[in-house]
């Protein structure tokens, strides 16, 4: 790396990392995560004492034995009450005065169609009302169906589907994988777009401020373009590293607190399923870098052909489409990673970063396919660099009317 490119990288990097937008984005990401973790904890702790003492008035005489353990499991202290009129009045006053959280009235309607009444000191959170309803309704079903409690339980929770995949090489498929593949692909799309557009704006700034002329009097256009792309890319990697670091810290501190406060919310096992591992991070980094070099090159060329932000808005549309198309197909590709269409799309050079990443995450791409996609990306990067570099070289010094497509093609041939 020569000293000039290094100076350009340093400038791009420091200017961006020192900007307030970088600081905001870097802090906002983890804050959002903290919010997601803290919200259920805060909700759970809100008015805990009062809310958690539940008095059950069971007029059916058959529901209480089933309801009680379920409510206890959901974290309530449960008391039974005979439920005559004087007692109801006393309970109503107690709830009003706040000495107990709430009482439930279970009657024939509860047994018949799951309708029951809850008188509460304050409105229960949506999560809590679901928990209470489940406890009561599941018991009602259990009573009406009769039979072995555990079997009925299994029926009530929606049954289980055991899938045996008979073809080779296909791994298991879980909801968590689907979510992390989808979110990862989307994050990939967002960050590719964000950082490639940052390169375009930087090119445009140099062009419209005319500083490019001074800069190019002491370096070659390719040095400027390379330094710019590497500098902005390094900002992206820094951002990811900071996010991963703070996410790690937050989970280390926050996850135990979350589990302690809401054992019903998520078990340690399911939490581990959702957390992306090192392999996931490596795939993300590899496809981000590949995609970034492809798209930042294209965007640098777009920036060089424009003279204003408005022009750039229009001119970038074809490139944006190259990024949007894989996002349109990503759900389908994740669901059927081994369908012919999914495989074909994931080998379209401009779609590879997003779609091959998605297939790899759900385990639908073989190691050979992943390796092939890396080689394909390398060739795409070289091809884009060659074409975009030529457009950039000519366009960056052009003023006036935006060039037409035939003119741009002539630049590529002649430059």
């Amino acid at each position: 790396m020569n000293a000039i490119v290094w100076a350009v990288i340093k400038r791009e990097y420091l200017q961006r990392v020192r900007s307030k937008w970088f600081v905001i984005a870097t802090v906002a990401g983890p804050l959002l995560l903290i919010g997601l973790i803290a919200a259920p904890i805060l909700m759970a702790n809100r008015g805990e004492e009062r809310e958690r003492t539940l008095v059950v008035v069971d007029r059916t005489g058959v529901l209480f034995p089933g309801v009680q353990p379920r409510l206890v499991e959901a974290g309530y202290a449960v008391e039974a009450s005979p439920g005559d009129d004087a007692e109801l009045e006393r309970l109503t006053d107690a709830v009003r005065g706040g000495s107990i959280g709430a009482f439930l009235e279970l009657d024939e309607a509860t047994l018949a169609r799951g309708h029951f009444r809850m008188r509460s000191h304050e409105a229960p959170s949506p999560v809590r009302s679901v928990l209470v309803r489940q406890a009561v309704v599941q018991t009602a079903l259990e009573v009406r169906l009769g039979g072995d409690t555990e079997d009925v339980q299994a029926l009530l929770t929606g049954g289980t589907l055991q899938v045996d995949v008979l073809s080779e090489g296909a791994g298991g498929f879980e909801d968590a994988t689907f979510v992390s593949a989808y979110l990862g692909a989307f994050l990939l799309y967002m960050s590719l777009l964000f950082y490639a557009v940052a390169v375009m704006r930087s090119v445009l700034e140099e062009k419209t401020s005319r500083i490019v002329e001074v800069i190019l009097s002491s370096m070659r256009p390719y040095e400027l373009m390379l330094g710019k792309i590497l500098g902005v890319g390094a900002v992206g990697l820094t951002q990811f590293a900071l996010w991963i670091l703070s996410a790690g810290l937050i989970f280390a501190v926050g996850a135990p607190a979350l589990l302690a406060a809401r054992p019903d919310f998520m078990s340690p096992e399911t939490l581990a399923d959702v957390l992306p591992g090192a392999g996931y991070a490596a795939l993300f980094a590899a496809y981000f870098l590949g995609g970034y070099f492809i798209y930042s090159g294209l965007y640098a060329a777009v920036g060089a052909t424009c003279n204003s932000d408005e022009e750039a808005q229009q001119a970038q549309m074809p490139v944006v489409m190259l990024l949007v198309v894989p996002i349109l197909f990503v759900t389908q590709v994740i669901q059927e990673p081994e369908a012919t269409l999914s495989i074909a799309l994931s080998f379209v050079p401009f779609f590879t970063p997003i779609l091959m990443f998605a297939r790899a995450v759900v385990g639908g791409a073989s190691a050979l396919e992943i390796a092939a996609s890396m080689v394909l990306m390398a060739f795409t990067i070289l091809a884009v660099a060659w074409v975009a570099g030529r457009i950039y070289k000519v366009g960056i010094l052009m003023a006036g009317k935006r060039p037409t497509l035939p003119e741009i093609l002539r630049w590529v041939r002649q430059a």
């Binding site: 000293a3 000039i4 100076a7 350009v8 400038r11 420091l14 200017q15 900007s19 700034e205 140099e206 401020s209 005319r210 500083i211 490019v212 002329e213 001074v214 800069i215 190019l216 009097s217 002491s218 370096m219 070659r220 010094l397």
Partner: protein, 318 residues
């Protein structure tokens, strides 16, 4: 070691069917202060861009310090382009350090030099401000500092005085003279003939992509001294028109008449007497640069490119 800091031979640049620079020859001796003069659109900026290697000539050759203008050689040049530009969001000192760094000045050294220059130009309180907070005049000064930070041997200034107020024009002119005294070779383009006349030792006049004439300013003036007639009079002006007069110009209450080749001043005098005007002054004078230019390129060439009159010293747009 070449005697010329810069040499152009037969340099030509075409944009489509338009020829921007047509077989330009130019030799800038080391240590000289050289003016590249011509109206807007005559090819000055294109020539300079080819010297800086930003554009490649279609024909001809550019030599910097005796050979091709590669990057190393271009780093010995300080270039102030016609269209000024800085990174608006950068702090002044950071920007200058970067501009030095891309021309081989270590960042710490660049910061030190930039600090000295900013002190000298009265911008010491602005070094940690963003460029966009500076006034236009201050930005011009910062741009000039960026041009000289790496202590170039050759300064190429494209319209350096445009956009500056008279006070700062004087400041810049003095700095340019100082660089000249220290032995720096200076090539600057301008459409302000007065400025060139004050500063230059040598000039090259170009019009419509072609060189009209070049050489030592004093020599040019001596050779041209029969070409301009200064007249002062009371009365109507009609007699000033005639085949002998290529152009006329009001200079300090009198008129300077640029004479056609071989024109006889006596014929003009006879017309003046016939018109019954009172003559105060009637003499051949040393021509002004503008008049030399008009004499050689013609009034039309001077006019259609937006060449201002010699008295119009207020500066045009860059």
């Amino acid at each position: 070691m070449s005697d010329f800091a810069l040499r152009l031979s037969g340099v030509t640049k075409r944009f489509g069917s338009h020829t921007a620079v047509d077989h330009l020859d130019l030799e800038v001796p080391r240590g000289s202060i050289y003016g590249l003069l011509g109206p807007n659109g005559s090819g000055k900026t294109t020539s300079i861009r080819m010297i800086m290697g930003i554009l490649l000539p279609d024909e001809g050759r550019v030599e910097l310090f005796g050979s091709d203008p590669d990057e190393t050689r271009r780093r010995r040049v300080g270039y102030l382009p016609e269209e000024r530009g800085l990174y608006r969001k950068m702090k002044v000192l950071d920007l200058l350090a970067f501009m030095g760094e891309i021309r081989g000045v270590a960042p710490t050294e660049g910061r030190r030099r930039a600090g000295d220059w900013l002190d000298r130009l009265g911008l010491q309180d602005w070094i940690d401000r963003k460029v966009e907070d500076l006034s236009k005049g201050m930005q011009q000064k910062v741009q000039f500092v960026a041009t000289v930070l790496h202590q170039p041997e050759l300064l190429i200034l494209d319209e350096p005085f445009s956009g500056l107020d008279p006070i700062n024009q004087d400041v810049l002119e003095e700095i340019v003279r100082e660089f000249h005294r220290k032995g720096t070779t200076i090539l600057f383009s301008t459409h302000l003939m007065d400025q060139a006349e004050r500063l230059c030792e040598r000039v090259c006049l170009i019009s419509r992509a072609r060189k009209v004439l070049d050489g030592d300013l004093k020599g040019l003036k001596r050779a041209e001294s029969r070409g301009v007639l200064a007249v002062g009079f009371e009365g109507s002006e009609g007699w000033l028109e005639g085949p002998e007069v290529m152009a006329r110009e009001a200079v300090g209450g009198d008129y300077h008449l640029v004479l056609a080749d071989g024109a006889d001043p006596q014929a003009i005098l006879r017309r003046a007497i016939a018109a019954e005007v009172t003559i105060r002054r009637f003499e051949l004078v040393e021509p002004r640069l503008h008049e030399i230019f008009v004499h050689h390129a013609g009034e039309a060439a001077a006019g259609d490119g937006g060449m201002p009159r010699a008295l119009d010293g207020t500066g045009g747009v860059g």
